[in-house]
């Protein structure tokens, strides 16, 4: 919302005091009221050097067809009074005797151009005649601006047109403040804050017989759609250009001047916040209007010439025969539009159902200044004033005569509520110490009138222009806003608890640290996938889809961290990045029959250009940090992974995740070269493991004995199974068992390999004897050879 200071000033007879000369301070006040000023701009550009000149004669340029020579009288401003001054001009719209703006030599135009004496094909130009656009005074660039014949020749243009420099505030108005989508509304808030009176000026105009009620009528068939509907009838309307001052204000407010009737309509909307619409009365039989909802499939040609098919959720203004002539609050119809030949106008100002307008304007893609105001809520009690303001301006500008009386019909309009405001509540929420009088003093200027007062509370009438306000807390906000939030002070509340992270939150941090210690950096791929991404990764295509995706590439929610990390690997590979080790910790989403889908938290890691062994090494390191003792690696085929180089992870008898290498097929589908190591684990079991810290085991004071054993073991037997067997056989004397060598050769033959283990034996309470050691050795060898059809080497 753009608001001019001069325009607001019309509602504040005593002015804004000293702040009027300090636009930035005024902007701070507005911002402090919640009407955030995004920019402050001085407009009403400098017209120094531009004077009123009279055309004395027009002559053909001897050498050029597109330029003419104009002799002007500058009234002594740039040449002696009555003495012709020659100007070369490319416009041909003026006639002898016209008054025109002349930029004299040395003038800097509003657009920055410097005016100097010039030679045009051998003729001297002693200045420049200006168009409205060049003066930034309108959007008419077709010809030289022709000035009012009553102006004084030689007078400065600013003085002649009464134009002073002005300040434009660009405001960001929040959705709860429809009243501030008007100049008057902003002025009311600002005046209240600055303690100066706000006054709606009188809008006098003459009225003529016969009364409007004999020439127009309205029936509201749907009172949900229409809260209130007002009409006026205007005759003898001349549809010409609007005056310069109005055009300037409209331009500053972001509206393009079109013609006097449209301009007045927009002007009244901007000033009062009440959108309005004009019909050519001649096209509306008997001036009869009916307001109803559209029927599904009904059509109307809107004033932009487009035929639009309506839905049963759209509101309509129809003629007496129930033929649609306007989409309520959104856009008028083509057939009833004001034209050059219009003389009588049916003026509508209504307040519509907010949701209906929101739906229709969105569905038709017709959001406008008007629909925005209706969506947020216009003032149903402001209709008469808006109609009157329109009539006053139309009488002044278009020579309109106004038929007596306004026709205003109530639809579903409700009376704004009265609210009891307790000072104790006000003071508790705002940390203030206000009494009822102080509260009333803050509320009255913004239209929250006091209905009755008790010692510790008052009843307040909510104004009709504040549809957002209906409860005590709404009024408390107004009190706070006008008193100033800064007056509430500042203190830090003291919770009666210690701040602490949960086990899950601490666990996540530990998981991240474990992976970072292994050289993995944290990636954050988006959780969205394209259709087919899961299948490409060898996973079930059962991801939850979005109802309204923006693009197909982001239409499925991931069921695994795999696709996102593969995309990250592919991205890094295509950018020739080295040493790509990434991990991600995040949620995956699985379909469910419950109220909400299932969310599982996983951590997964990839190493570009590395095989399963790297994944397993990482796993062991991470498992040590994360207290995952007892985790088992079970060679298995796992979706998306290399079928002969992958394993399932089990922890406390439950599936923890997977480790290995990405399947070559999947890598091909993601256009990744080389191998990619993979490790994935569920987060909750890891978190749980952090909650049972390792139990202390007393360190033995007695010497330990080491023993190396190598077995030839068939390929079908996992190296870890051999260790498990040795552990079982070795009992508590076997402290550690580690695989330290794997050897394959032709002499061993077949698929078998030699696995060499280093075992350490130790007792807690004695030095082991040779006999004891020999015994346990035999037991272990026996168990391994028997269980795994292995042979000792």
């Amino acid at each position: 919302m753009n608001v001019l200071l001069s325009w607001m000033r019309e509602f504040v007879p005593q002015g804004f005091g000293e702040l009027e000369n300090d636009p930035n301070a005024l902007a701070d006040v507005l911002t402090g009221l919640g009407l955030v000023v995004e920019s402050v701009e001085t407009v009403g550009a400098n017209w120094d050097g531009i004077v009123v000149a009279k055309v004395l004669g027009l002559r053909k340029h001897p050498e050029a067809d597109r330029i003419q020579l104009v002799d002007v009288d500058t009234g002594g401003a740039a040449s002696a009074a009555g003495e012709p001054l020659q100007i070369c001009c490319g416009a041909f719209n003026m006639t002898v005797g016209d008054l025109v703006p002349l930029a004299t030599i040395g003038t800097t135009m509003p657009g920055g151009m410097e005016i100097a004496e010039r030679q045009l094909r051998g003729e001297t130009s002693n200045g420049m005649l200006c168009s409205a656009v060049e003066l930034e005074a309108g959007d008419d660039s077709d010809g030289i601006m022709i000035l009012d014949a009553g102006l004084t020749i030689g007078q400065g243009l600013s003085e002649a047109l009464g134009r002073e420099s002005d300040v434009l505030f660009e405001l960001d108005v929040e959705g709860n403040r429809p009243d501030a989508l008007s100049v008057a509304g902003v002025a009311r808030d600002l005046a209240a804050k600055l303690g100066t009176p706000f006054v709606l000026p009188e809008t006098p105009f003459a009225e003529t017989e016969p009364p409007a009620s004999s020439r127009a009528s309205v029936v509201i068939e749907d009172s949900v759609l229409c809260q209130r509907f007002g009409l006026r009838v205007l005759d003898n309307v001349t549809v010409g250009q609007s005056p310069l001052w109005m055009q300037q204000r409209l331009i500053a407010s972001g509206q393009r001047p079109i013609n006097a009737v449209v301009d007045i309509s927009n002007y009244v909307m901007l000033e009062r916040g009440q959108p309005n619409h004009t019909f050519d009365l001649a096209t509306v039989p008997d001036g009869a209007l009916r307001v109803r909802m559209a029927t599904e499939g009904e059509t109307i040609t809107t004033l932009d010439g487009q035929e639009r098919t309506l839905s049963a959720t759209d509101g309509l203004v129809c003629n007496g025969d129930s033929v649609a002539i306007s989409i309520a609050g959104v856009m008028g119809g083509f057939d009833t539009e004001i034209s050059e030949s219009t003389t009588s106008v049916l003026l509508e100002a209504a307040v519509w159902d907010r949701m209906t307008i929101a739906k229709t304007s969105r569905r038709l893609g017709l959001r406008s200044e008007a629909s925005t105001r209706f969506e947020r809520g216009a003032d149903p009690q402001g209709i008469e004033r808006a109609l009157d303001r329109f009539c006053q301006l139309a009488a002044e500008i278009c020579g309109a005569t106004i038929a007596e009386g306004a026709l205003v019909v109530d639809g579903g309009v409700s009376t704004p509520p009265q609210v009891t405001v307790r000072t104790a509540r006000v003071n508790q929420i705002l940390n203030l110490d206000l009494d009822v009088d102080q509260v009333a003093k803050l509320l009255t200027p913004i239209g929250f009138a006091t209905v009755s007062v008790a010692t510790d509370s008052l009843v307040v009438q909510i104004p009709s222009w504040r549809p957002d306000s209906s409860a005590e807390i709404d009024v408390i906000e107004e009190i706070g806003r006008h008193h100033g939030y800064e007056k509430s002070g500042s203190r830090v509340p003291t919770p009666a608890q210690a701040g602490v992270l949960t086990a899950t939150q601490l666990g996540r941090r530990k998981v991240r640290s474990a992976f970072m210690a292994e050289g993995f950096s944290e990636a954050m791929p988006l959780p969205f996938l394209a259709p087919g991404d899961l299948a490409k990764a060898g996973l079930d295509e059962a991801g939850i889809s979005l109802e309204n995706p923006l693009v197909a590439e982001e239409s499925i929610l991931r069921t695994s961290l795999l696709p996102g990390l593969l995309k990250a690997v592919a991205f890094n590979q295509s950018h020739r990045n080295a040493d790509v080790r990434l991990f991600e910790l995040g949620a995956v989403f699985l379909p469910s029959d419950d109220e909400l889908p299932v969310e599982e938290e996983w951590v997964a890691a990839v190493v570009m250009g590395a095989d399963a062994a790297v994944a397993v090494e990482t796993l062991h390191q991470v498992a040590r940090t994360l207290n995952l003792a007892g985790m088992r690696i079970i060679n298995s085929e796992i979706a998306g992974l290399h079928p002969t180089r992958s394993a399932e992870l089990q922890f406390w008898g439950k599936s923890l995740g997977s480790v290995g290498e990405i399947s070559p097929e999947v890598l091909e589908a993601y256009e990744i070269e080389g191998r990619v190591a993979w490790l994935a684990m569920r987060v909750p079991p890891i978190v749980k493991a952090q909650q049972s810290p390792p139990k202390f085991k007393k360190v033995s004071r007695y010497p330990s004995s080491d023993l190396d054993l190598a077995f030839v073991v068939p390929a079908s037997v996992a190296a870890s199974d051999v260790i498990n067997t040795m552990r079982k056989a070795g009992g508590e004397l076997l402290k550690t068992a580690e695989l330290f060598d794997v050897f394959r050769s032709e002499t061993i033959g077949g698929d078998a390999r030699s696995l060499a283990y280093r075992l350490r034996f130790q007792a807690a309470d004695r030095t082991l004897t040779d006999d004891e050691l020999a015994g346990v050795r035999e037991k272990i060898i026996g168990a391994v050879t028997k269980k795994h059809t292995a042979t000792l080497r």
């Binding site: 919640g34 508790q428 940390n431 608890q497 991205f571 890094n572 109220e595």
Partner: protein, 336 residues
Amino acid sequence: MTESLLDDLQTSVAEAIAAVTDAADIDALADIERSSLGKKGFVVSAKKAVGTLDPELRKSTGQAINEAKVQLDEAIAARRSELGRSARSAQYEGERMDLTEVPAGASVGHAHIVTQTWDVLEDLFVGMGFRVVEGPHIETDWHNFDALNIPKGHPARDGFDTMYVNHGEPGSTLLRTHTSPVQIRTMLDQEPPIYVIAPGRVFRRDTADSTHMPVFHQIEGLVIDRNISLADLAGTIDAFVTAYFGAEVKSRLRPNYFPFTEPSAEFDIQRSDGSWLEMGGCGMVHPNVLRAGGIDPEEWSGFAFGFGIDRLALMKYGVDDLRDMFANDQRFLAQF
């Protein structure tokens, strides 16, 4: 007799000291030590011979022998340490390394800057006595909107650009557009007083550009206690701002509108040039929201605030395009 004993000893000592000085290494020195001070060395022999002397000579002779022994001891110790030093310097010379030749080796990994910022914020509020609460990413329409005083048809719903998921009734289930539904879950889950923050990932139906992502991260605070006022909100914001940005950074509240708080405010921080930067939204929890959370607004009041984590990360590290933060480029991730 005495004379000749002492003369012999002194000759032996002088010879031994000369040999000590000439000893080429620790072994040669040990030989000299053995032959002079060892069990069969001449010093011990001389000491034994003292017993054969006249009693009146024994004391002075014994003293002379001891002096000779000390003299020899010192010479050996001095030579030993000299030999040790030169052996060490020979070792050092032999082991000389150019440490600038050593490659940097594998890097440790880096936490994502969103995580780094997130953790700092969590720690900061935990320090102020807040707990950290969480909720699901996929939410019901009720938790995300209705319970937050944004009923169906409320114009504020338009502003959220919500992504709905195909689950249950159409339009019933969505990717949360803010962390505020966690407020509702917390209120339904625990009795006041409540002092919590809810950091989390949120979603908007937005095309990615330098300042927008369809997925981003927010942190939200909720306090509900007796007699909580706008002053408590201002104080908490101020405590956070000075802790995070520095003691000299000021904050202010200015009126704004959010459906779930009233009075509502935007909180700004002041840049060093005096201008104000919009940081986030806040306000007193709307009575309707407290009611939706099963809390009596006459008995309890509260405030809430929220702001973006990604933007803080962006500001801290000077990243100028939000998309870079989520491209997962190793060269980006390894910088922080």
